[in-house]
């Protein structure tokens, strides 16, 4: 979660886990009340995260159907890799993977750039009252439920009565013939990307900003004494200072395969459902119509494995710096 945690996990989480298991025998009982303290969390977590997690992987190898109780036991409907084979013959899956990638490519790099730019700017505002005001205004979008935020943009970007088109065409007079954003095959991606960036960049801006606030002021002073200008301070003090947070952004956002669920759902999937991502399709397959939960789970599992590989690549390419 935090950059420190990323560093910690990068040390080899599996190695750390096995080592700690081996150490159990040598440990003393210590503070017994510790078990009481962790009990509520461990119990809740085992029931509502741990069990579904393991059972969810098994479901992906079953022809599990919600309305057919005879398919519920694992052995009754075990089908090996059949779900995965079926997936790649399914046009909607291929289309969903494409949609997920488009969503990622139009959103994630721009969110990063805008968040970083805003954080660096905001870090230069010296007046604390003003900085706090900007911070609230910029992060406000982050707290809005997507179910309300996305429709706001669908109405704003409406081709006929939307305010954005009126603003571009009649107020600024810079675009005589603006597109019908939400129903055009190309502009749909721009429209949903603008809405998603608007929704997401505030939170990432906040993370970058907290990182910048934590850079010791001596470093800035040293840079000033050395006669560094604004750009040099940025390159040699600020960006290295938040390297781990940028890495955190990369690791948490590099997995594009299962991306885009709630935003697509609430924004609308566009003309001929071009925006229907893999995870949205998986939900629809699992809980609507004939409710083939096994097939839906297989899609999610495939996305999960892909994303894990992508995150692993990031760790290999950009090792975290130990503080």
């Amino acid at each position: 979660m935090t950059a420190t945690a990323v560093t910690e996990q990068e040390k080899g989480k599996f190695a750390a886990f096995f080592e700690s298991v081996r150490n159990i025998r040598r440990e003393g009982w210590g503070s017994i009340e510790g078990y009481v303290f962790i009990l509520p969390l461990v119990a809740m977590w085992m029931l509502f995260s741990g069990y579904p997690y393991i059972r969810g992987i098994l479901i992906a190898f079953q022809d599990y159907r919600m309305f057919k109780p005879e398919t519920w036991p694992i052995l009754a409907s075990f089908c090996g890799f059949e779900n995965f084979v079926k997936m790649f013959k399914d046009k909607a899956v291929i289309q969903g993977i494409k949609a997920s990638f488009n969503m990622w490519a139009w959103t994630v790099p721009f969110t990063f750039a805008l968040a970083l730019f805003t954080a660096v700017m905001l870090n230069r505002v010296r007046n604390p009252k003003l900085a706090s005001l900007y911070r609230v205004l910029i992060t406000l979008a982050w707290v809005i439920p997507e179910a309300a935020a996305m429709p706001m943009w669908t109405y704003l970007l409406d081709g006929n009565v939307g305010y954005v088109n009126y603003f571009l065409r009649d107020t600024l007079k810079i675009w005589a013939n603006p597109p019908a954003w939400t129903s055009d095959f190309f502009w749909y991606w721009i429209a949903i990307a603008v809405a998603s960036i608007w929704k997401g960049f505030g939170w990432n801006m906040l993370l970058f900003l907290l990182g910048l606030y934590n850079i010791p002021s001596e470093l800035y002073d040293a840079a000033k004494i050395d006669g560094a200008n604004g750009l040099q301070t940025l390159l040699h003090v600020e960006l290295p200072g938040i390297r781990n947070i940028m890495l955190l952004y990369l690791v948490t956002n590099v997995g594009w395969v299962g991306g885009g669920l709630v935003n697509v759902w609430t924004f609308g999937t566009g003309p001929q459902a071009i925006g229907r991502t893999l995870s949205l399709y998986s939900w629809q397959v699992s809980f609507q119509g004939t409710a083939r939960m096994g097939y839906g789970a297989a899609m999610n599992f495939f996305a999960g494995v892909c994303n894990l590989i992508l995150a692993g690549l990031v760790f290999k390419l950009f090792p975290t710096e130990k503080a």
Binding site: F17, E27, I57, L114, I144, P145, N244, V262, W283
Partner: protein, 296 residues
Amino acid sequence: MNLPRINKTIKRVLLHVCLILIASFGIFPFIWTTGSSFKTLEEFYELKPSLLPRNPTVMNYVYVFRGIGEGGQSSGAAYMLILYRNSIYTTVVSTLLTVAIASLAGYAFARLKFRGRDAIFYFFIVLMFLPAGGTLMALYTLMRTLKLIDKLWGLILVYTGGGGTALFLMRQIFLNIPSEIEDAAKVDGANSLRIAFQIMFPLATAGMVLVGIMKFMGGWSEFILPQTFIRSADKMTLPIGMWRVTTIANNLAQARTLPSPGVTYTVMLLVVLPAVLVFVFMQKWFIRGAVEGLKL
């Protein structure tokens, strides 16, 4: 004025112009939504939409609270209030439960030494990093077995039990509290429960507020879980209930059975408002907790 000073002023002005532009991008949809929620029907059919209403009216609000039905049609009962009750109930209870159990466990994992502590903690981390498959589908089967489908309590339990973020944050926050304070208390002969509840927990208040705010925001906005586990309209949470009303109401508005598209905007604004208020009033705590506790 000499040249460097002019230069500095220009930079300052540019900085604020940039920030004002970004901030306007951030709040512009709110202004539009707020403005539109006060518009009359006539204004929506004019060809020149304006950001702020020309003849403000509260008609849309009256309509929403008088009783907008689940299909967007007018009904006797105030559906809006039912949804508010459901959302507030699930979000507040699950937030309090999460803060309580995550603080206890975070404290134990960070500060107490007991047999198997590290093994349990690393087990959490390892499981979080393995690829999830049909977690939601399996959760559905679990809830069906426990007879928790279509129950608000089921939703609360899922919110509370899901995700390790709160635990990791609380553990990190307790790790960052200097150990001198604890040692001093030990020297004074305080027992371990006193150290925990009278010394350590108050020191972690900012962190608890941070975790609480994040959980509140997450729970208030949650979309997928209620969609999956709640069936009846009168048990739905606010964002989804209202999302359904607005998407249906929007079509109805085109059929001219709703008094005005302004109702749609009013509904959206009412969904957004509690989250925004909590954030605006708590953001100082939020920043404090994050800067002090996390050391990103």
